[in-house]
């Protein structure tokens, strides 16, 4: 009896899902952010379109009512990496780094935004399992234990550097088809591979997730200097000395001429 009811229920859910087969298309205004000598942060536009293939049998006005229930979540994060969090304590009258915790695989950059506050349309459990929101970022140490004090410190630190941002209401949906989100990247953002995830949510369920890759890179003379310093340290050192000696001698020469 119950079994039959459940079977018919799941059948009807299946029907609804097939009836509203949505497609999500997203893109970024740029797929690469390049850090140059004048780099002072950057803005990027993430945009996309939502297409609903409604079944013939469903009436059109019903779709538009249904359409109001769509929500979009945008998450941009950098490739996870290991970080060390140090805690200062007062020792013999001065504040020194006295404790630390190494945390594994945390993003160096994490921004989340959505059409409405997450709690209004997604259950806390779903938020936690999908790692949506700052409080749901997994911050565990080498022994896979989450140390609350260090997790809070990490989030506080990253938020103050604008490397972690949590907001809502900045994902704008237009005509229930087009959506866009302005993303703000500070100048201190880490270099590397990023991924922009877009989630489409309806009736508290995530129905589509779409990922776009983003590359943050240093270009021009800065890139050259940085790479040179890290790939050929002895030559960089010698070059730095030559630059200094040349500049010193030249400026001394100019100063003598002027004086």
């Amino acid at each position: 009896m119950y079994r039959k009811a459940i079977a018919s229920l799941s059948m009807s859910i299946f029907m609804i899902v097939t009836a509203y087969a949505e497609t999500l298309v997203t893109d970024l205004s740029q797929n690469q952010i390049q850090i140059t000598s004048q780099f002072a942060g950057s803005q990027l536009l993430l945009f996309g379109a939502l297409e609903r293939h409604a079944a013939e049998s469903i009436q059109t006005d019903e779709i538009s009512v249904q359409g109001l229930d769509y929500d979009i979540i945008v998450v941009v994060q950098s490739e996870p990496r290991d970080l060390i969090i140090r805690k200062k304590e007062k020792v013999a009258g001065i504040w020194i780094n006295n404790q630390n915790e190494i945390v594994r695989d945390v993003p160096g950059y994490y921004v989340i935004d959505s059409t409405r506050p997450l709690d209004e349309f997604l259950s806390p459990l779903d938020q936690r399992t999908l790692g949506l929101g700052l409080k749901n970022i997994k911050v565990t140490n080498e022994n896979d234990i989450e140390v609350e004090e260090y997790k809070e410190a990490l989030i506080r630190n990253m938020v103050s550097k604008r490397l972690y941002q949590e907001a809502s209401g900045n994902v704008i949906v237009k005509d229930e088809i087009l959506f866009r989100a302005n993303l703000d990247f500070p100048s201190n953002m880490p270099v590397g591979k990023y991924k922009a995830d877009v989630y489409l949510v309806r009736d508290g369920n995530i129905i589509i997730k779409h990922s776009t890759d983003l590359l943050v890179d240093k270009i021009g003379i800065e890139r050259l200097i940085y790479n040179f310093a890290h790939e050929f340290p002895p030559f960089y050192g010698i070059l730095a000395v030559i630059v200094a000696i040349t500049a010193g001698l030249f400026s001394g020469f100019v100063a003598r001429k002027v004086a």
């Binding site: 969090i85 140090r86 200062k88 780094n97 940085y226 630059v243 500049a247 010193g248």
Partner: protein, 309 residues
């Protein structure tokens, strides 16, 4: 206008950097000092990670001292033999200093070490300078003339491994110049200073070198020792920011020219008391930052790298 510093990995206003370089250059021209002990703290106070401030300053001081060394050499003010002995000690000291620096950086204590070194050295040198210049001002008011005492034999003369330095007309043990050079080398590596403020008094009061070769010889040593520090920091920790060094250097050269003109108008004692006051001020700011509870007790950094503030 913002400029992105490739090694420090942060963007700073170029005019602020030029003003800092020019200001410190002005003071160094006025007081006849290198300026590293002012520039490094200033960079740290303005948000450059301390390790990068120190290594980059070593690079800038190479540039600042080389033209001075050449100018003194033209006037015959460099004792090359003594200079080589000081450099030999200095390179060993720099090597040790860079090792300490690298190790402390890996365990997250390099900032503490830099601050403590500044507090200790600036505190003692500043106080000594202050007391000394106040005394000489009082003496001058009373119309006393400092007595010239004939040099006594001291423990310095008893040291072995003596060497003859023709330029300085001296016959002294190499142990002391080696030790002085080494100490200066350590300071260059861990504090980003030339170390003239230690070396010049040591050469005058401990080695009894003739004053006409003291400045030139110390600049000669500083050029090579800070070059060694630059090289070692580049290899060990990749903390030398050439872009930052060049910006500071350009402004400092101009500032130093203007400063020298102003310095010529002030009396020696007044200059020294002003300098002592500034040294003590920087020292107090450093000490204050160590003692007062920071707003944020936690810092986050990539593994093996210290955090930007």
């Amino acid at each position: 206008m913002q400029i992105y510093l490739p090694i420090a990995e942060l963007s700073m206003n170029i005019f602020v950097l030029l003003a800092m370089g020019g200001g410190v250059g002005f003071l160094s021209g006025m007081f006849g000092v290198g300026g590293g002990f002012l520039m490094t703290p200033l960079l740290i106070f303005s948000g450059v990670p301390p390790a990068i401030a120190v290594a980059t300053e070593a690079n800038q001081i190479t540039a600042a001292s080389v033209s001075g060394a050449v100018a003194h050499w033209r006037r015959g003010g460099v004792d090359f033999k003594m200079g080589m002995v000081l450099i030999a000690g200095g390179v060993v000291g720099t090597y040790i200093g860079a090792l300490i620096f690298t190790y402390l950086r890996s365990i997250g204590q390099v900032d503490l070490m830099i601050s403590m070194a500044y507090v200790v050295f600036l505190g003692s040198i500043g106080s000594l300078m202050f007391v000394e210049s106040v005394r000489s001002i009082i003496r001058a008011r009373r119309g006393e003339v400092q007595k010239v005492v004939r040099r006594q034999r001291t423990w310095v003369d008893a040291l072995p491994f003596k060497m003859r330095f023709r330029k300085s007309k001296m016959y002294v043990s190499v142990i002391l110049p080696l030790a002085i050079g080494a100490l200066v080398g350590v300071l260059a590596a861990i504090m980003g200073v030339g170390g003239g403020f230690i070396m010049v008094p040591a050469m005058i009061y401990l080695l009894h070198m003739p004053t006409n070769v003291v400045i030139g010889t110390s600049l000669f040593q500083i050029t090579f020792v800070t070059a060694a520090a630059t090289y070692l920091h580049s290899i060990n920790t990749q903390t030398v920011d050439v872009v930052l060094a060049v910006i500071l250097l350009t402004a400092a050269v101009i500032g130093a020219q203007i400063g020298a003109v102003f310095g010529a108008k002030l009396k020696g004692e007044q200059l020294r008391i002003l300098l002592a006051g500034m040294v003590l001020l920087v020292c107090m700011k450093m000490a204050f930052d160590l003692v007062v509870q920071p707003e944020e007790l936690f810092t986050v950094s990539a593994i093996g790298v210290e955090a930007a503030h």
